[in-house]
């Protein structure tokens, strides 16, 4: 049984992209893996999320609405989502450059640089926050030069942006890198030999191939930034209506043992994040489909 299906697969014509495979698989187990997927997702993701919404449901709608539309909460959404989107966008641009440099060129210390990219993953976020604050405070290495120019980074929304860029960087680099490694330079050379300018070769040939990976990286960096608390809290300054991120609003509620209020804010974050991530996914599928034509 197993051997026959293996032969079948070997004899099957190469798959065209986009068409679902109809042949028997070498390794069976769709039922099993789907079962595990659903159970695992339910236990690890859905149940805690359901608990958030259940807890929120102890509020009346009027209370819920008053909680999620309070002045400090609304200001914090603007800051948290705005800064996270901006940070993810900046990381997408620079992450692409980093990935490009690491994949396309060999230079001494390349492996070291490559390893450095992952550090924001490994560093406890509180340490990152303290380190960044130390750098950008008015007596810090960088802050001392920015301060005379009138640029304040630590304890302002700009500081929040810096922290979010820091923690989001690896996502874009790590998602783009493998795709770029697979993308042969022959494509660019072919484009050039057909008369494309460098800019055309990049925007028409390289970029479309990388767009899905870039969007995934963007989405991951964004999602990570929205939920980030540890590093931001040290550099933010936490001034109400100016530099309070949404996770801090949640902590403020928990400090008053207002668990329902905290989960109400959390549910807003979840819903907005889900919508944004969903839109990014749809966009990604669309660009991928368009790229194939």
């Amino acid at each position: 049984m197993v051997s026959s299906s293996a032969t079948e697969t070997l004899e099957a014509p190469p798959q065209l992209p986009g068409r679902p495979p109809r042949h028997r698989r070498v390794i069976p187990g769709f039922g099993l893996t789907l079962g595990i997927t659903v159970t695992y997702l339910s236990l690890i993701v859905l149940l805690p999320l359901a608990a958030v919404f259940l807890q929120t449901a102890t509020l009346t709608f009027a209370q819920f609405w008053a909680t999620i539309t309070s002045a400090d909460a609304v200001a914090s959404y603007r800051l948290s989502f705005g800064a996270s989107l901006l940070a993810a966008a900046i990381n997408t641009v620079f992450g692409l450059m980093l990935a490009w440099c690491l994949v396309r060129y060999t230079f001494p210390g390349r492996r070291l640089v490559d390893a450095l990219v992952d550090l924001p993953f490994a560093l406890p976020t509180a340490v990152a926050g303290i380190a960044l604050t130390a750098l950008y405070a008015k007596n810090g290495w960088i802050g001392q030069y920015l301060e005379p120019l009138g640029i304040k980074v630590a304890f302002t929304p700009l500081g929040i942006l810096v922290a979010l860029i820091f923690i989001g960087l690896p996502f874009v680099v790590r998602t783009v890198q493998p795709v770029l490694e697979d993308l042969d330079t022959e494509y660019e050379e072919a484009a050039a030999s057909l008369g494309a300018t460098r800019w055309q070769a990049f925007t028409r040939v390289v970029l479309p191939a990388l767009t899905p990976a870039l969007m995934t990286g963007f989405a991951l960096a964004f999602a990570r930034a929205v939920g980030e608390y540890g590093s931001v809290i040290f550099i933010a300054g936490n001034i109400p209506l100016v530099s309070e991120i949404t996770p801090l609003i949640i902590i403020k509620k928990l400090e008053q043992f207002d668990i329902a209020g905290a989960t109400a804010i959390a549910s807003v974050m979840l819903v907005v994040s889900f919508i944004l991530l969903f839109v990014i996914n749809v966009l990604q599928a669309w660009t991928q489909a368009r790229g194939r034509r």
Binding site: A137, N139, G140, F155, F234, F257, I259
Partner: protein
Amino acid sequence: MRIVQPPAHIRTSSVGLGWALVTAFIAAMMPVTSARAETALLNVSYDVTRELYKDINPAFINAWKASTGATITLNQSHGGSSKQALAVMSGLEADVVTMNQQTDIDAIAERGLIKPDWASRLPNAATPYTTTMIFLVRKGNPKGIADWGDLVKPGTSVVIPNPKVTGNGRFSYLAAWGYALQSSGGKPEAAKEFVQKLLANVPVFDGGGRGATTTFTQRDIGDVLVTFENEVNLIQKELGADKFEIVYPSISIEAAPPVAVVDAVVDKKGTRKQAEAYLAFLFTPEAQAIIAKHYYRPRDAAALAAAPLKPGRTKLFQVEKLIGEWKKVQAEHFADGGIYDQIVIKR
């Protein structure tokens, strides 16, 4: 002695299967203390008492061994006071809680885990020591800060931790409120205006007391740091007296961190005798001397006299006497939409 990290994400288990599962999961991850032959107590405490209980626990273990011949283990859990209270409410099996505010223990009592009379079971309303809020200024006191009135002057930058999320910040806020109340002859309107001006001078609201210390001492932010007396003395000791000066204001708040046995837990585990002995030990001369060493104000007069701490001119007021019952103060000032929210947004 093992340090038990507080579970960061436990919430209340009052609603839903989800919470029950989450709590059960976390409980399963906790080190099993009761399975051991010897008795183990878990003391759930607030953030900055690490050093204090690190000294007190071995002393209690020795005293317990000497008086009963039994060995006992003490586990510690530290974190933000209210977060720790939340963890206990959610099922963290604390034999005793040593919090920095009465409201945190009251909140646990409201869940029925601690009997309502907890404060009357030990001397001094179950508070083994006190401290107060004083100032730390930069060497030479360039802004000439002598009292609360100097903190509202335009151009003076004041560092306090976030009153919404830290006990430290709440005590700072209430100390300023009490000063203004007293100097205006008891007018809450005047106090409100005064505290509003003070908050307008705060450039950073750190999420913790230690964070505010770092902002002031390492980041060079602010002309004055308002924090606990023991923290101020610790800064002086750790960072050297040549960089900062201590200023005692004319009046400040008495902060008395309370302790309580968690009745529901000790009755279940059968550790009531040990837990009560542990808390009673905090009031003995031996423990009081250790408390004094850590720059708190012990209740014991002899220990206070021998303390390295030199309490300045500050007259202390009690929140209950000057401003109101803690519960009412909490609801009026720090609840969402309360006085703090109103004035900090207008600042």
